[in-house]
């Protein structure tokens, strides 16, 4: 297959992936559609990077630069999202701490004994926990 034919095949593959992603977004249910669309987007980007931008013939150093750019983006997004994921995990941990306090498991603490986690005393948190709500759930009016 010569270079022209290969470029046309890559283009057809890109259009096919576009069709799959649009079809998935309109036909499949939410999370599955999102996953399929994102997979198609990454596949399209990979095809363009490798074949249309010449990474398949580039030397090692150039490939390292290209990968480093993508890696940096992953770090940027990953560390930012970790903050938000950690907040959600923190909400779950608060729930566990409050449950211990309410049953008395975590409130006591004799001298020399292993100290339990500090029990939050904020009335609002206790009230939310008794109501079965997430203690730190932000209000989202929209």
């Amino acid at each position: 297959m010569n270079t022209f034919q290969l470029a046309v095949v890559i283009w057809l593959a890109l259009l096919a992936l576009l069709g799959v992603s649009v079809g998935a977004a309109t036909l499949l249910p939410g999370a599955v559609a999102h996953g399929a669309s994102l997979l198609c987007a990454f596949a399209m980007a990979a095809l363009i990077f490798v074949w249309f931008m010449g990474l398949h013939t580039a030397d090692g150093l150039l490939r390292v630069f290209a990968l480093a750019a993508v890696l940096w983006l992953c770090l940027l997004m990953g560390i930012t999202l970790l903050d938000y994921i950690e907040r959600d995990l923190g909400v779950l941990q608060w729930g566990a701490v409050l449950a211990k306090c309410n049953t008395g498991d975590g409130a006591s603490g004799e001298a020399g004994a292993r100290q339990p986690p500090a029990c939050p005393t904020t009335d609002r948190l206790h009230a939310r926990h008794r109501a079965g709500l997430r203690p730190q759930a932000p209000s989202r009016p929209w």
Partner: protein, 221 residues
């Protein structure tokens, strides 16, 4: 055209700061990729912001995405992917010393890029007519129940598509100049390298659009 045909990007005398033409080609490509990495950081910050807000307000963003024209967005994506093909073919043609093929393929790229921008402008106007343009003091009239979240979604929409369109305009200007250089064909080896470098920029703009399209149009509720 086969890959065994002669290529001209390795011909000619290097500029004085380079030892040989191979080193110059490598520096050209490396410089462009570093520039594209900085561009990725520019768009990356915006995408990160979008991902954070998309995860915080999934219902509002998912509902707001339904108010975009998916058909027009998909057509525009196909147009841009096709322009990526013509750029790649122009690169291959210039490298093989096929001046007129490279010239017309570059013009086709410019034409497809212009079609993309016209369709995008039409889409923006359509959204303006429906009160979905919360910029420049224009009243935002959202018909759904998550108006505040949708307001944020459309802010992202115009920022992301606007920044991408600005890059398209730069790319169109660049490719027009390169097409002129191909037409003159004074230093074929240098011109072929310029086609290759500018083609990298255009392909990068394609990649950015693929993710803009996916994030805004396809991540529906």
């Amino acid at each position: 055209m086969s890959t065994s045909q002669r290529t001209i990007t390795s011909e000619g005398e290097p500029d004085e700061q380079f030892d040989d033409i191979g080193q110059q080609r490598h520096a050209n490509l490396m410089g462009m990729w570093i520039f594209l990495a900085t561009e990725l950081l520019l768009f990356g910050g915006m995408f990160t912001g979008f991902v954070v807000y998309r995860s915080q307000y999934p219902a509002a963003f998912g509902e707001a995405a339904h108010h975009l024209d998916l058909t027009l967005g998909a057509i525009n994506t196909a147009v841009l992917l096709t322009s990526g093909l013509t750029t790649r073919l122009a690169d291959v043609s210039a490298e093989a010393g096929r001046r007129f093929a490279a010239f017309w393929l570059l013009l086709a790229t410019v034409a497809l890029g212009a079609v993309f921008l016209v369709l995008k402008g039409f889409e923006w106007y359509h959204e303006y007519e429906h009160g979905l343009m919360p910029v420049l003091g224009v009243a935002f009239e959202y018909p759904g129940e998550h108006a505040r979240g949708a307001h944020m979604f459309f802010n992202f929409y115009y920022a992301m598509t606007g920044l991408h369109a600005a890059h398209m305009l730069v790319g169109l200007g660049l490719l027009t100049v390169i097409a002129g250089l191909v037409w003159r064909w004074r230093e074929p080896a240098r011109v072929a390298r310029q086609v290759q470098i500018s083609g990298l920029y255009w392909a990068f703009v394609d990649v950015i659009w693929v993710f803009v399209f996916t994030a805004l149009y396809l991540l529906r509720a």
